[in-house]
């Protein structure tokens, strides 16, 4: 007993000693390079690219993850694609980004869960010499974001607003039209952008009196749905129907920021036995495309995740080569600390009439439009 113990303790001691001598101090190697994030020298062709995405609650994030994994592999990079855990999203994502930094990722692509709570982690990434690309959601309150790549979300909002007006006009040629407004999660920077875009179109009509918000809830705080949760939208719609539309007042249209919420809203309206109003959407989710073809949801937005991922990978490739990636907006996206250079892709509005054309390239969705 004693001998085996002694052997063990000697082994442990030896291991400790080895660890002490074998690992050198980190201070020498990186301390000179970490502050010079400005010089674009590029990095090895098979460098590690980290991709941190929110939890797997929407089809689009799952698809994006798969596309990143395959796309980065094809481009010759090593990749580490992570989703945040379902319950501890923010803390999980923080830990994942830190782990990517530790593993020596050269570029970290982040689809943020809470865009305002990552500044410590992206700062660490920068200090370690990694580039940070904010994917789809702009990371705020930090100077340590290099690029922002997304669909033009203000335009998405404008298109949703316009589609809402067009749809209602098609059903009932003259106003005034009664509508309700929904917006996305308040902790998602994009939610406000969508809403502002939509209001950019709707505001003149509301001011003129052509469009009336039945409940009077026009402020983004009143319309927000925490966490983009379907049940949140459904319960808000339920209570609107039970209060404002209890009397026989007709609801002509609902501005919904995305498809998940749009379907929840339609479910609520159906449940109340009311005619389905014009409901907008976004993301081209399978169920919503079916709903549009069935004549329930009015519109969605096609933000082709394939294109967005492809452009992101193009950006990563230029960073690898040491060249400046292409951007098309260097003014609009101020995150509270700096103006982040952005590359914006144009969205496409899809209704029943344009569905076949819009999804022609998408094998899964085009089948639904036939």
């Amino acid at each position: 007993m004693r001998r085996s113990f002694l052997i063990k303790s000697v082994a442990v001691g030896a291991a400790v000693a080895l660890a002490l001598t074998g690992c050198s101090n980190d201070r020498e190697g990186t301390s000179s390079g970490d502050s010079g994030s400005g010089d674009a020298k590029g990095f090895a062709k098979d460098g590690l690219i980290g991709v941190a995405l929110p939890s797997k609650t929407s089809e689009n994030w799952v698809l994006a993850g798969d596309l990143f994994t395959n796309g980065l592999k094809e481009a010759g990079f090593k990749s580490d694609v992570q989703y945040a855990g379902a319950s501890t999203t923010v803390a999980d994502q923080q830990a994942q980004i830190t782990a990517m930094v530790t593993k020596g990722a050269k570029v970290i692509v982040i689809g943020a869960t809470d865009a305002a709570q990552l500044s410590t982690q992206v700062a660490a990434a920068h200090q370690a010499g990694a580039k940070v690309i904010a994917y789809d959601r702009l990371i705020t309150n930090t100077p340590d974001v290099d690029y922002y790549i997304a669909f033009d979300n203000f335009k998405v909002g404008q298109m949703q607003g316009q589609a809402l007006l067009d749809g209602m006009k098609a059903k009932k040629p003259t106003g005034p039209w009664t509508v309700e407004l929904f917006s996305g999660s308040p902790d998602d920077n994009n939610a406000g952008v969508f809403f502002n875009g939509a209001m950019d179109v709707l505001k003149p009509a509301i001011d003129k009196g052509d469009v009336v918000v039945g409940s009077g809830q026009k402020d983004v705080k009143q319309t927000a749905i925490q966490g983009w949760k379907a049940e949140g939208a459904q319960s808000r719609m339920d209570s609107l129907l039970n209060s404002t539309y209890n009397g026989g007042k007709t609801l002509d249209g609902v501005l919904s920021p995305n498809d998940t919420l749009a379907r929840a809203i339609i479910t609520s309206v159906k449940g109340a036995g009311k005619p389905i109003p014009v409901v907008t959407g976004q993301d081209s989710e399978v169920e919503s495309v079916k709903s549009i073809m069935a004549g329930e949801q009015y519109s969605t937005i096609n933000k082709d995740t394939r294109k967005l991922v492809a452009e992101t990978i193009t950006m990563v490739k230029s960073l690898q080569a040491g060249t400046e990636p292409q951007v098309n907006d260097t003014k609009s996206y101020n995150n509270g600390s700096k103006v982040v250079p952005a590359y914006l892709l144009p969205p496409v509005i899809v209704t029943k009439a344009t569905a076949a054309e819009a999804y022609a390239n998408d094998p899964k969705l085009s089948a639904l439009t036939k």
Binding site: S55, T89, N141
Partner: protein, 432 residues
């Protein structure tokens, strides 16, 4: 007694309760070695150790309070919500109402104390089970967070961020290391030696108790000093600008203070007495209500602190702060050897339990395991760690969490003796 048993008994402090943590420490070392190999050396890299400390400091702060709550025979499900609530209150106060951040921290602790007093009142003086009170608190303060914050993310100023994301500053001559961290390490080594000498001294004062054999004392010192030196050099040798995190220092201070309180003061003894046998404690003159009030209130103050550390690290208070923290803290406490029925467990054990989960989580992330698999593995690990321990104890072998089964066993024995009465409703009248 065999040498191995003697070692188990003496290596980590010299008491039986500490010996029970021995196995868990072994598990921790095994996990570290496993991931160190799996990740090609990333696990023990300076940057990773520093990140680990920051990521789990707030959970460990919670588990200190949770240990005391669980030892007293309660549970607190509200810690995450309380943390989030305090976080948003403090963030709003310092950002929107221009309260200087040190006062903001004080405000947070006061709010935590008030919430704790509220929960403690219901548990201790009204007699509602803590499970119910804190379930209500979980809803109450989560709602409070959203009400005050409008579900917004509110940033906090630079100075405040230091308690979650700050490091010891660089001072003194250039040694290639962070000098303050080196100093801390030196202090820790000195403390280990002093403690060892003092323990031997105390032990010799105990007539009839033989001090641990010298070879064990020396071995223990050598191992601990080696670990401290290694860890110190790692923390001190990180990227310039990083060193031992402030949140780690806060945690270390709390661990030392609360370990001392629970082990070496009458107040700490009373918590164990209440959890072990409330009626016996009461008849020995322990003021039950006061103890229960204290543990619940203390928990909320620590939850407030944890919330602020997280907000500081995240640079902002958000609506998702604190989600399922209570589960992490409770898991850490149980892996660390506390008994579900109360009365057993140590602060040190809970910290080790938390570290095991932290290293596991971190290692899985470094190896690129998805968060879905991470959750599955952590869940199985929690169950497995406790189950293996229970099994070992049944086989009469050394038990990782001997405490847990020890309480079960004594209750079994009691139950066996009264198996007939078990299906009989007790009359309210006391018998004489």
């Amino acid at each position: 007694m065999s040498r191995m048993k003697e070692l188990q008994k003496n290596l980590f402090g010299g008491t039986t309760s500490n010996a029970r943590q021995f196995g868990m420490i072994f598990t921790l070392v095994a996990i570290i070695v496993f991931f160190q190999i799996q990740t090609g050396g990333l696990t023990l890299q300076s940057g990773n150790l520093i990140a680990l400390t920051q990521q789990y400091a707030y959970i460990s702060v919670l588990s200190i309070g949770m240990l005391m709550v669980i030892v007293a025979g309660h549970i607190d499900l509200s810690v995450g919500s309380v943390a989030a609530f305090v976080g948003i209150v403090v963030a709003k106060a310092v950002t929107e109402h221009d309260l200087p951040w040190p006062l903001g921290i004080l405000l947070g602790l006061v709010v935590g104390a008030l919430i704790g007093a509220w929960q403690g009142f219901w548990v201790a003086y009204v007699g509602i089970p803590a499970f119910i009170v804190t379930l209500a608190g979980m809803l109450l303060f989560r709602g409070g967070n959203q009400y005050i914050g409008n579900a917004d993310t509110v940033p906090v100023p630079e100075g405040f961020r230091d308690i979650g994301a700050g490091y010891l500053p660089e001072v003194g001559p250039s040694t290639g290391y962070n000098n303050l961290t080196l100093l801390l390490g030196l202090l820790a080594c000195a403390a280990v030696v002093w403690r060892e000498l003092r323990a031997r001294q105390v032990r010799t004062q105990m007539e009839g108790a033989e001090p641990a054999p010298l070879w064990i004392a020396v071995l223990r010192m050598v191992v601990m000093i080696a670990v401290i030196v290694f860890v110190t050099l790692r923390f001190a040798g990180g990227r310039v600008g990083t060193s031992f995190p402030i949140s780690g220092i806060i945690l270390a201070v709390l661990v030392l203070a609360y370990s001392f309180y629970t082990r070496n003061t009458a107040g700490g003894r009373h918590i164990y007495a209440v959890g072990g046998n409330a009626r016996a404690a009461e008849l020995s003159g322990v003021k039950l209500r006061r103890v229960n009030f204290f543990v619940m209130m203390n928990m909320s103050i620590l939850a407030a602190l944890a919330g602020m550390i997280f907000v500081a690290r995240s640079a902002a208070s958000g609506p998702q702060d604190g989600l399922s923290w209570e589960l992490d803290a409770i898991a850490a406490v149980f892996i660390g050897g506390a008994a579900v029925s109360g009365g057993l467990g140590t602060i040190g054990g809970s910290i080790v339990g938390g570290l095991v989960m932290a290293v596991l989580n971190n290692g899985l992330q470094l190896t690129g395991t998805g968060s879905d698999m991470v959750q599955i593995i952590k869940g199985l690990f929690l169950l497995g760690a406790v189950a293996l321990d229970v099994y070992n104890k049944k086989q009469g072998r050394f038990s990782i969490i001997g405490s847990l089964t020890r309480s079960n066993r004594s209750r079994h024995e009691a139950a066996a003796g009264e198996s007939v009465e078990a299906n009989v409703v007790k009359q309210p009248a006391a018998r004489s």
